[in-house]
């Protein structure tokens, strides 16, 4: 009994062992803002997403501390476009004049934030060909009461170029009471699917995706299909988002992912894509 008491005291000592706390602000340098901007030739609107960066680990910075006073300008070799804050948490929205975004032209993004500094980046809309999406199989399976669709698609990788791709799966819903009324929404708004042409086997890249249709139950709308957009993205975009998708925020044991951005003085990415092919798969 006495022995146990001693051990209990020791255990208490153990648990009460003082912890040293280092304020994160005292560590490293915070550059101030995060940028997410993506241009293409066909854009009729151009969004730049900005957020304050901070030494915190929780919450969505752009919602809690929206960055509203930045002066955002995009310059081409001959023109410029000012992109004002659109009133939403992180979005700056500009309407480019027709022909503002063109292939083969260099663009410079310039962001001035009062009290913080000037951030900039450059990119070019390169000229790539995007092959059409080839429909593969669509299979349905039910696990308990959940209805899953497993879809398989592929596309031909154009040889002779270094290609990176982004695939955007969108769910298509039909209003049963109004046959012309359809809704389209991202299947997973937080995950960006990017591919390297290294994944091509015999020149073909094959992708499997899955959709849990229950999550889109939105009467009177019902899921009728999945629409895919396939974009040819630049290397900066691919590397950044490929790194981003490796991050597991719930696993503190994982090897940290070192993000590769291209914003001078800041964080994030300014990149381009070119061409997009689309395909809608109708679900059985």
């Amino acid at each position: 009994m006495r022995f146990n008491l001693i051990l209990l005291i020791l255990l208490c000592f153990w648990y009460s062992c003082q912890r040293e706390k280092i304020v994160l602000e005292d560590y490293g340098t915070d550059k101030g803002i995060g940028v997410s901007a993506f241009i293409t030739e066909s854009d009729l609107m151009f969004n730049v997403y900005l957020s304050n960066s901070r030494k915190t680990i929780g919450g969505i910075a752009s919602e809690e501390e929206p960055l509203t006073n930045a002066l955002v300008t995009i310059y081409s070799t001959s023109d410029s476009l000012v992109i004002p804050y659109d009133g939403n948490t992180s979005s700056y929205l500009g309407i480019p004049s027709p022909g503002f975004f063109k292939q083969g032209v260099n663009y410079r993004l310039n962001i001035e934030v009062p009290g913080k500094g000037v951030y900039s980046s450059e990119t070019q809309i390169t000229n790539y060909y995007v092959a059409p999406i080839i429909e593969g199989s669509v299979k349905q399976r039910t696990v308990s009461s959940d209805k899953y669709y497993d879809l398989e698609l592929s596309w031909e990788d154009q040889t002779g170029y270094k290609n990176y791709y982004r695939l955007v799966p969108l769910v298509v819903m039909l209003n049963d009471s109004e046959i012309t009324d359809t809704l389209v929404a991202p299947i997973d708004g937080s995950t960006i699917l990017v591919y390297d042409d290294k994944e091509a086997i015999d020149g073909i890249i094959k992708v499997k995706t899955s959709i849990l249709s229950n999550t889109f139950d939105f009467p009177p709308y019902r899921v009728i299909g999945v629409k895919y957009y396939l974009m040819n993205v630049d290397a900066n975009y691919y590397k950044f988002h490929n790194d981003l998708k490796k991050i597991n925020y719930f696993d503190q044991l994982n090897n940290p992912v070192i993000l590769q951005g291209n914003i001078k003085n800041g964080y994030g990415i300014f990149a381009s894509y070119n061409g997009a092919s689309e395909k809608t798969f109708l679900l059985p």
């Binding site: 022995f3 051990l7 000592f13 153990w14 062992c17 003082q18 912890r19 040293e20 706390k21 280092i22 304020v23 994160l24 602000e25 560590y27 490293g28 915070d30 803002i33 995060g34 997410s36 009729l44 609107m45 969004n47 997403y49 957020s51 304050n52 960066s53 901070r54 915190t56 680990i57 929780g58 919450g59 969505i60 910075a61 752009s62 919602e63 979005s91 696990v143 955007v168 969108l170 389209v184 991202p186 708004g189 937080s190 790194d243 981003l244 490796k246 991050i247 597991n248 696993d251 044991l253 994982n254 090897n255 940290p256 992912v257 070192i258 993000l259 590769q260 951005g261 964080y267 994030g268």
Partner: protein
């Protein structure tokens, strides 16, 4: 006139002398040899010969070492010829004198050679002793016992004084009169715990280098013990060049290597994990071990398969003369060890068992609805027997297991978690002394390691469970031979083969509501490893010696076979007893990788073999060092090293052990790991230093290592070089042992290590993925905002340094039937909060995010008791 007379006299005398010498130099002439009168007392022989040379005017040629020029000679020679005087002074029957005009050459004829061989054993138990040095007078030759206590040397016949020294044993001087082949058993007496002065180690008698460290197992009990548990790995960490991970990780980090790069062998069987209690303790307390030797560079070609170090452990054979043993009680565990003869002088057995009672204690404290506990156990057994004079059989077995469990019940919901891991090692060895020059050892062995993590939740609506299991099993055989080709060439060669069975990861997730949801069963991987080696231990001359070796490994996994040639070279220069120098080049390869994400010694680690796309690790190391022993008290040693490793393997960015458990395993199969592992380079360089002082009752030493370890992976940290997580820039340890009196010892240790490295988020920000627009500029739906953390350079934050001071006082006394030892230990006496791990947290008072250092062991006193009979 007188001066003229004297001149004439001297003149004629000189003329006469010259004439005599002339006559001597023309020895073949009929003239008689000139004679001399020569008197000398207690003068080194070489000085006496120099004087004689001056007197006679005849040049004497000789090799001072061969004629033992330092020996003191005396004599009164009246009217004797020069050869006669020389013969008497040299007093060597093999002396041959060769006359040449104006010269006399002293040549020692080579004697007929004979082989002296045998075993060195401990007096009182007949336990064979490994690595014992036998040094002949004048350092004319040195020989060491092999892993089975056997020695052999072929030398010219004659009489020798041989000093036999071994750490923890009283040095012994023996007179060897070798006139034919001779076999003998030499008994060394162990130093008593109760001796008045501190136990001397080999530095007393031999100026040792620090690239190879012999653990004085008898000293382990004298050092402070955490929770009263003696541990030989703790002793190792006090030696130069051996760093510990952190408080909860006894894993050894040697010359920039990681713990999986250390080859740990117990009686010739490999151990894959040698720690208990999440890394606090090693598998062996020390009392069951006969020897422990750690090599950090200049590896023998006999060893392969790991790139960083070799820790060779041998269990005691067991006393062949009488039954003896000990048992010890600590706060955490108890152990018992007994050994004794099965048949006196012929066969013996050793049995040892250790178990913790932490589970019993925690269970008695915790509520019925909350049970948690941990226990580990070890069992060792060894039987050996002589089969005639030249054959011995050994059978050794080790089995050990750790078991952590936690059960809680609340509101009808029950959570159970269990982590188990353990090792088995078994070896059967046959020692055969084919001749007094040829020694053969054949081993058949099996090794197994397995760990399982199991978490189960049961509630009224059903149950869910997930399980991760990883295991490795080896079956193999090897033959090692020692052949004494000549006094200057000791050849070692051998072959080995191992069949490996890996189960790198079997994870299973089960939910009763939806049936079996996920089984990621990476199929068992079978791999075959073969190796052959040869090396020559060469004695070049009195000062220079070396080891030249070559090892060839082959490893086959599936269709892929890797062949790795490994040249090894060591050079030693010992100009005198005070200085020695060494330099080495070693080439090592490793065919399996322990993949781990943390520094914590959890069994969250997986052994993965090389495959089609995972290449073997290759390490090339160059090291050089010296040791200096200016007098009996002081010893100073230093080593420099640089090691370059390629194909070092890690988890890719964003991957951890939980990925293996929770992932849907889209690429399950043998190449599953190909997608989550990356390979890169590692470069380590640094210097190790050791300063030791021993006098009478005091023994103290300081070990300091300064090193840097960098890594580069194409897929990590944007391909840039970064400092390795386990980089220990400065590592210092101090040890002091003082015998206050015969039965009372005070000891203290202080260790300091630079903190480990980690990556901290420098900033977090938000991203918003773009949704494509249609032709009218409509975007589809909304895009979810994604938080992103920016880490800057990988491993850019160094944790707080790790240091603690421990003290102990031990009291020994002899009872009627045995010896008693009681110790009071205080760990971390100044209550340093050493980093165990860090977490990201939030300070409510300041409203700021903080990095929280979690410490583990505060100041911790403990008692331990041991009884030996």
């Amino acid at each position: 006139m007188l001066r003229i007379k004297n001149y004439c006299k001297d003149y004629w005398l000189k003329r006469l002398l010259l004439a005599c010498l002339f006559a001597t130099t023309l020895g073949f002439t009929k003239a008689q040899s000139p004679t001399f009168t020569f008197r000398i007392a207690s003068t080194p022989l070489k000085n006496a010969l120099d004087s004689l040379q001056e007197l006679s005017g005849i040049r004497l040629f000789y090799n001072s070492d061969k004629i033992n020029g330092n020996k003191l000679v005396s004599g009164n020679f009246i009217n004797q010829t020069l050869p006669s005087i020389v013969k008497e002074l040299v007093a060597n029957p093999n002396l041959e004198l060769i006359n040449k005009p104006g010269q006399l050459i002293l040549k020692i004829k080579d004697n007929e050679k004979h082989t002296w061989s045998g075993y060195i054993k401990e007096k009182g138990s007949s336990e064979v002793l490994i690595g014992v040095n036998l040094v002949a007078n004048g350092n004319s030759w040195v020989v060491q016992t092999n892993d089975y206590g056997f020695f052999s040397i072929t030398i010219p016949e004659g009489d020798y004084e041989v000093k036999v020294t071994y750490i923890g044993y009283a040095p012994k001087l023996i007179s060897l009169s070798l006139h034919s082949n001779k076999e003998e058993i030499i008994l060394l007496e162990p130093e008593s715990y109760l001796s008045e002065v501190v136990i001397k180690d080999e530095l007393e008698d031999k100026n040792s280098s620090i690239y190879k460290l012999q653990v004085p197992l008898k000293k382990i009990d004298q050092l402070p013990a955490l929770l009263g548990e003696s541990d030989f790995i703790k002793y190792l960490s006090l030696l130069p060049g051996v760093s510990k991970g952190n408080e909860a990780n006894q894993g050894m980090y040697i010359r920039g290597g990681t713990p999986d790069q250390n080859l740990v062998m117990i009686d010739d069987a490999t151990l894959y994990s040698c720690y208990h209690l999440f890394g606090f303790y090693s598998l062996f307390s020390g009392s069951e071990l006969r020897s422990a030797e750690l090599t950090k560079g200049g590896f023998s070609s006999k060893y392969g398969g790991r790139t960083s170090s070799v820790l060779n452990l041998s269990l005691k054979d067991g006393n062949r003369e009488k039954w003896e043993g000990d048992f010890g009680i600590g706060l955490l565990s108890s152990h018992i060890m007994i050994n004794g003869p099965i048949e006196k002088e012929k066969a013996s057995v050793l049995l040892s068992f250790r178990r913790t009672y932490l589970d019993a204690i925690t269970n008695s404290i915790l509520e019925e609805t909350e049970k948690a506990g941990y226990h580990y156990s070890d069992f060792n057994a060894k039987i050996n027997t002589d089969l005639g004079k030249r054959n011995k059989l050994y059978f050794s077995i080790y089995t050990g297991k750790d078991n952590f469990f936690s059960n809680s019940e609340y509101d009808g919901e029950r959570d159970q978690s269990k982590i188990t891991w353990g090792n088995d090692a078994l070896s059967f060895r046959w020692n055969c002394q084919l001749s007094n020059k040829f020694f053969l050892n054949t081993t058949v062995f099996h090794t197994g390691y397995a760990s399982t993590i199991q978490i189960k939740n049961t509630e009224s609506s059903g149950s869910s469970e997930f399980q991760l299991r990883t295991s490795i099993k080896d079956y193999g055989a090897k033959v090692d031979a020692d052949y004494l080709l000549s006094k200057n060439h000791w050849i070692k060669f051998g072959v080995m083969g191992t069949q490996h069975f890996f189960e790198p990861n079997i994870s299973r997730t089960y939910s009763s509501n939806i049936g079996l949801t996920n089984t990621n069963n990476t199929s068992e991987i079978e791999a075959t490893e073969f190796a052959g080696y040869i090396e020559d231990n060469i004695k070049i001359n009195q000062y220079w010696s070396g080891i030249a070796g070559f090892r060839l490994n082959s490893f086959r996994n599936g269709e892929k076979t890797y062949l790795t040639p490994e040249p090894r070279l060591m050079l030693f220069f010992e100009p005198n007893r005070r200085w020695n120098f060494n330099a080495s080049y070693t080439h090592m390869s490793q065919f399996m990788n322990l993949i781990s994400t943390g520094m914590i010694g959890l069994p969250s680690e997986i052994w993965v073999p090389v495959s089609e796309s995972i290449n073997p690790q290759i390490a090339k190391q160059i090291s050089a060092g010296y040791a200096h022993k200016p007098n009996k008290e002081w010893h100073w040693g230093q080593e420099f090293f640089i090691k370059q490793s390629s194909n070092y393997t890690q988890f890719a960015e964003g991957i951890s052990i939980w990925y293996l458990i929770l992932s849907q395993a889209p690429n399950s199969g043998t190449n599953f790991y190909d997608n989550i592992l990356v390979q890169g380079q590692m470069l380590s360089y640094g210097s190790e230093m050791s300063l030791k002082y021993t006098k009478n009752k005091l023994e103290t030493w300081v070990a300091y290592t300064i090193s840097k370890t960098e890594q580069q992976f194409d897929e990590i940290n944007r391909g840039n070089w970064f400092i390795a997580m386990h980089d220990r820039r400065h590592d210092i340890s101090w040890t002091g042992i003082y015998k206050i009196r015969k039965s009372l010892i005070v000891s203290s240790t202080w260790v300091y290590g630079s903190g480990f490295l980690m990556s901290l988020p420098e900033a977090s920000f938000t991203l918003s993925p773009h949704i494509p627009q249609d032709a009218n500029g409509n975007v589809f739906g909304f895009s979810q905002q994604i938080p992103a953390h920016h880490y800057g350079q990988k491993n850019s934050y160094r944790a707080a340094a790790f240091h603690h001071l421990d003290v102990s006082i031990k009291y020994y006394w002899e009872g009627k039937k045995g010896k008693h030892f009681i110790g009071l230990n205080v760990y971390n006496i100044y209550n340093r909060y050493n980093p165990f791990f860090y977490t990201l947290g939030y300070n409510e008072n300041t409203g700021k995010d903080v990095l929280v250092l979690n410490s583990l062991i505060p100041i911790l006193p403990s008692l331990n008791y041991k009884y030996a009979f």
